[in-house]
């Protein structure tokens, strides 16, 4: 199975929008999940919902998680602590920028790359120039 991707944002709209953009790049070959907002629908992140998204994205060969701000990272880490079994050993929490990282990561599994390569490529998106001065 290709590496799965989970997009975590405080805003469900932001997570879903980035997922849609990433899916466009992946051509339907990658399992990309968007998760954001609290249980009652306000802005925030919810470890339980992130854990559900990780399970949904898990094809057995790794999951790259991209997050917006610090507490999304804390919620993702908490989700991994709550996860039973081997799931957490297949997950990489990426320090990549959310939009660029998601676009780059979405292309990688579709060309057969594994979790380490997908993770490295997402991080590499930090050095991409949007504006050439």
């Amino acid at each position: 199975m290709p590496v799965g991707i989970v997009i975590v944002s405080h805003s469900p709209k932001l997570a879903e929008g980035i997922r849609d953009m990433a899916e466009q790049m992946a051509g339907g070959m990658i399992n990309i999940r968007a998760v954001g907002g609290t249980a009652d629908g306000s802005l925030g992140t919810n470890p339980d919902a992130i854990l559900d998204a990780l399970r949904a994205a898990d094809g057995g060969d790794g999951i790259l998680v991209l997050m917006d701000l610090g507490s999304a990272v804390m919620s993702a880490e908490t989700a991994l602590e709550l996860a039973a079994g081997s799931l957490s050993s297949r997950v990489v929490l990426s320090d990549a920028p959310l939009v660029e990282g998601a676009i780059v990561a979405a292309v990688q599994p579709s060309i057969g790359h594994g979790l380490d390569q997908v993770s490295a490529a997402a991080l590499g998106s930090r050095r991409m120039n949007k504006v050439n001065h």
Binding site: T38, A39, G44, P47, S71, M74
Partner: protein
């Protein structure tokens, strides 16, 4: 501290009331340097905790704290969810390991909570976070345990140390959390997380004092 029967439920009731009472103040502190939801989040979280604890009111203190942790993780929404959730999980594990709850056990549990917060938030003292309230409380509890103080006296000293730690966050420059995006603008405001940590410690201290005097 002698008998801890019903203490978990009593703490859940009292902390919920205190968070409801101070929700507007915590949110206002958070609006100055954060995303303006700390009071709302803490009130929502501890309201859910109380409802959960009331379903099984006879649980041990450690079990109640674990229920609180899991409920906060799934309901708070902001950074406080994973942070307080991890803190309470660690405290619960520490308390579950000892049948008697004395000053040394309380000190160990709060120290475990602090370590959980520091691990989850990668924060240390002086960064304008809840660590600045909890770390002095741990020092006070350790000193009280060494001096042979009662749990009620030890918690009282810990809450006072937390209050001083909370006030000491006012001149600090935030380097963690949403406030760190503000840079210099974070100076001059009291940290909302340190404030909620103080309220929790003060509430528990007052409750344990009342039970000791009863």
């Amino acid at each position: 501290m002698g008998n801890t029967d019903g203490l978990g439920l009593a703490i859940a009731e009292r902390v919920q009331a205190v968070m409801a009472e101070h929700a507007a103040e915590l949110t206002q502190l958070d609006s100055a340097i954060g995303d303006g939801d700390h009071g709302t989040n803490m009130n929502r979280g501890f309201t859910a905790v109380l409802a959960k604890v009331q379903e099984q009111p006879d649980q041990s203190l450690a079990a109640v704290i674990k229920t609180a942790a899991m409920t906060l993780i799934s309901t708070v929404g902001g950074a406080a969810g994973p942070l307080y959730g991890t803190a309470f999980l660690r405290a619960s594990t520490a308390l579950a390991a000892s049948p008697e709850v004395g000053t040394a056990e309380v000190a160990t549990a709060v120290k475990a909570a602090l370590e959980g917060v520091q691990q989850r938030g990668k924060a240390t003292t002086g960064e304008k976070t809840m660590v600045d309230a909890i770390a002095p409380a741990v020092d006070a509890l350790n000193a009280a345990a060494e001096a042979g103080a009662s749990v009620a006296d030890a918690l009282d000293q810990a809450a006072e140390a937390a209050r001083q730690g909370m006030e000491a966050t006012i001149p600090m420059l935030a380097t963690k959390g949403r406030a760190s995006y503000l840079g210099e603008r974070s100076i001059g405001h009291q940290d909302p997380g340190a404030t909620s940590s103080y309220y929790i410690l003060r509430t528990i201290a007052d409750l344990v004092r009342e039970r000791a005097n009863a």
